[in-house]
Symmetry: C2
Subunit: 223 residues, 2 copies
């Protein structure tokens, strides 16, 4: 259906333009912006909670939470004292740059060093929509099976960082971590991989160090 | 964007027509057809493997597997001796009725009592596309968190059966089963809920009994 393809191309082009403007604005303000993408239930909000607990004292953090329904994820971040805005997509399976623009323009988020944009839980649709982020973060939990990078290659190929979550459950599931690392290396040779458990705290310092280093590199490049 | 809405409405209308024809054809042949929908990694293929082991001796089973990439899921079913066809969607986040039609017309699947259509791993997009099934089966694993029905209400409201998978992991995760059952009852008062672990076999007999009973009810209604 060529008609569908045309409309989709125009929607994506409009999104690219809005994303480019967001990227310029985020860079001017010296903020690092991440776009977190995974299946529902891979642990995006839980990773952010652990991140706030570890970094909230020394960096200004903020969140934009994308969901089909419920304010639950923004509530979880606000409960930890960081500003968070929920975007309800009304059925759409991804956030787009104009929704993020509207939040930035209207929601009066206070100044932030790092903005976490948590996309709608979906490994497919969010992949094509640039939100002006510095890089995408893909999450995959060890309970989802070790075939996921090759089954959903687009997001794992484009993610600056892949976080393998829930590693505390490795003793209880069948999950070949080496195979997943090989798939990731093949799809995305320059992407970083971090192993975490929000429950035990394993890997959270590595993840936070990576965030602080990325922020420092960005600010140095702009100075 | 009214234009997008128009195109989407036409795509959905064409799908409805193809699905209605499929439903007539499936009913004429006396087959039960299920459309399995969940996040990536909730255990759709693993549930089907357990089902084939339990029922394959006395019913003719077949599978259609939807994925973005890889033939892996169809291979897993074929390895158990049941006919399975892989549909690669080329990036689309759901199967549609015309893809199923094409498989039925061209793939020369042998006669089946139950056809399992395993949709692309996604809790959102597949919800709107009728595939001519008797009912949708939604899966949610206990590792995904106990907020999922309310966060993805459309699929859980429409599923004839919700299968809660990986219950063997309940001792190792935070998951309020009663809360999930309440969400499901509120969204879908007539839907059935089955708890399973493909690893321990728990609940697989209940699931298989439900399938056999649904097949018997359908055949009786047609007799």
């Amino acid at each position: 259906m060529a008609e569908v393809v045309d409309v989709r191309a125009r929607v994506l082009a409009a999104n690219e333009e809005a994303a480019a403007q967001l990227r310029r604005d985020f860079s001017e303000s010296g903020a690092l912006v991440l776009n977190l993408i995974s299946s529902p239930g891979s642990g995006k909000t839980t990773l952010l909670e652990a991140t706030v607990r570890a970094l909230g004292g020394r960096l200004r953090l903020a969140g934009i939470e994308g969901d089909i329904a419920t304010e639950r994820d923004a509530d979880r971040l606000r409960a930890l004292g960081i500003p968070a805005v929920q975007i309800l997509t009304g059925g759409a399976c991804h956030l787009d740059a104009r929704q993020v623009r509207k939040v930035i323009d209207e929601a009066h988020l206070p100044g932030f060093d790092i903005l976490f944009i948590e996309n709608v839980g979906n490994l497919i649709c969010p992949t094509s929509y640039d939100l002006g982020e510095d890089f995408k973060v893909a999450l995959v939990s060890v309970t989802e099976g070790d075939d996921k990078p090759f089954k959903y290659p687009a997001i794992f190929a484009r993610a600056g960082v892949t976080v393998v979550t829930k590693v505390d459950l490795l003793p209880h599931v069948t999950f070949d971590l080496a195979a997943v690392k090989e798939q990731l290396a093949s799809l995305n040779p320059t992407g970083k991989v971090v192993l975490t458990s929000a429950r035990t705290g394993e890997g959270i310092p590595d993840w936070c160090a990576l965030l602080e280093q990325s922020l420092a590199v960005k600010r140095k490049a702009m100075a």
